[in-house]
Subunit: 333 residues, 2 copies
């Protein structure tokens, strides 16, 4: 009999989650039924959107159930199978998140192509993370040739891909913000940003103004709060903001005042559009084709921050929320 | 020789404008040159957007010049002409705003059709005001058959038309807010709103929640501030807000905190889009055809608040900013 180590949510966090909100359990796995597979997860994803699901409030995805194992993106290989479609050795993607061994109907696992790239890329650059960047820039913000683009949280999982995708889509200038000098250097030296700043150095409003003398046309928001406010100051007439996340507010227990310059929306005919990647799954085909090409020829690069041990999933999640990661944050069970 | 009485801006108001910011002057008009007309204005428009132009800050239209006559929409009839295109008696629309007699090149005046409707309608329901309502609902908010629509400032010039246009475009339910019990009654009894509330009675957030048990799909914003915040609470997944104005903030001298629920944009995939009617002039043809039909058959009604005497233009403007008008505010020189 095989054991699966799994992380469960046991209480709903108020404010910043703590390790006490979770429990690590050992689950004895039954024999496989018909058309089932057992999968050893190689990488498990921790993502900002999971914070929303830990609360009871309705969101675009239902809350996690208390006493159930945390679900989310995971990639691995089939180690036991009663399915003709997914023989032992197959690489698969599933949403059986925070566990080292996943087991269930074969239909719950999607086969992944064998490439030169590590499997983890299908959680990050070539997965939901990359599609988020691509859909947000291309469809939501309607990025056009020559646009000046600002991306907040630019060294994170989505942001590090978004800067490079913006360039591919024709941006004339790409500006980013991040939370340390090292990350700012990475934005400029590795991800091809034209300019970048550390948002902890001085007010975002001031720093953004200094690096965008001609304003911005597109804003890709991962942060919300002072970043969104600063962007509203700098968006040119007809400017568009794709709102992907507001990590600055996810742990907030109080209502936070919004931007003090909302009048700019009318004054400059701006558009703010919130989105989730799920609305744009129809772009998956065109995205996957382009991105695997860019990754293969090295014209798009990606980074991962990997934490070892499924028992460290909570720590990895909390570190990611605090910006400890560069690129995609992953747990290697 | 003919004299024109004109209102000029003489100082830039800080906060609420006062009569001291304006001067009434008598201008002696010269003989007509070639291809010119002299027009006796029958109605002059006062509009919220003019507050922005009184300040020096850049906006979507340049600021008014100090010591120059206030420009803006006006309709009248030609009383003297050296133009074959515009003989004496022609009804015309111009942007020679706050004056009783306007004079200039014939090309600066647009001929208006002779209809059963008063000329004033080409400043209001069938003019820029009506087009603002139509473009905002149809194109900016993308109103679809069956949508629940909320309109703030619903008894104002744009709002009183917007509610009726929303119905024409297929809204299943139209909700409005206004600033007095009389206006609320008007919304329900005359403009066909399904429900309405007086925003002075209790917090907007609370009142809007009570009258929108199933949320809203489209918000047409004339007010900003607490109204926008309340709408963000009630907008359903994929909801759209057309931001037409923020009259609650036009006289503000301090930065005002924005909505405390901006996170709903991401959570519910909402779109906020600011617009000005000038971007949608291409809809003028289809709009004019439909609206003149609706006005002629009485299926769209309109109201006007008329102030007599060009010398009362400033008073009319200030009263309009305070919500003293029902429907379109006009000055009859």
């Amino acid at each position: 009999m095989t054991t699966s180590t799994q992380i469960q949510l046991v209480s709903r966090p108020v404010g910043t989650p703590t390790t006490e909100d979770f429990a690590t359990v050992q689950v004895e796995l039954p024999e496989l039924g018909r058309d089932e597979v057992r999968v050893r997860n190689e990488y498990v994803s921790v993502d900002p959107y999971m914070r929303g699901r830990m609360s009871e409030a309705k969101s675009y995805v239902p809350p996690f159930d208390l006493g159930e194992t945390m679900t989310g993106g995971a990639v691995g290989r089939v180690v036991e199978s009663t399915s003709d479609a997914l023989p032992v050795g197959s690489a698969v993607l599933s949403s059986y998140g925070w566990r080292d061994v996943a087991q269930g109907p074969a239909a719950h696992f999607s086969p992944l192509p064998e490439t030169e790239l590590p499997l983890s890329v299908f959680l990050g650059a070539a997965g939901m993370t990359g599609l988020t960047a691509y859909a947000g820039l291309k469809r939501v913000a309607g990025l056009r040739e020559g646009d000046v683009v600002f991306i907040s949280g630019a060294a994170g999982a989505v942001g590090s891909i978004a800067g490079q995708v913006a360039r591919k889509l024709g941006a004339s200038r790409v500006i980013g913000s991040a939370g340390s000098a090292e990350k700012v250097a990475l934005l400029k030296d590795r991800y091809g940003y034209d300019d970048a700043f550390n948002y902890k150095d001085a007010p975002v409003r001031k720093q953004l103004r200094e690096v965008t003398p001609d304003g911005i046309d597109v804003y890709f928001d991962n942060v919300g709060g002072d970043h969104l406010e600063a962007a509203l100051d700098r968006l040119n007439r007809g400017g568009r903001a794709a709102l992907c996340g507001a990590i600055s507010q996810y742990n907030s227990t109080e209502r936070t005042a919004g931007p003090d310059n909302m009048a700019n929306l009318v004054k400059n005919s701006l558009t703010l559009e919130g989105f989730i990647v799920g609305q744009h799954q129809d772009l998956q085909g065109e995205f996957a084709e382009k991105m695997t090409g860019w990754l293969a020829d090295g014209s798009v690069v990606f980074d991962e921050t990997v934490v070892d041990g499924i028992g460290n999933s909570v720590r990895a999640f909390l570190d990611m929320m605090n910006g400890a990661n560069t690129g995609k944050m992953l747990v290697r069970p």
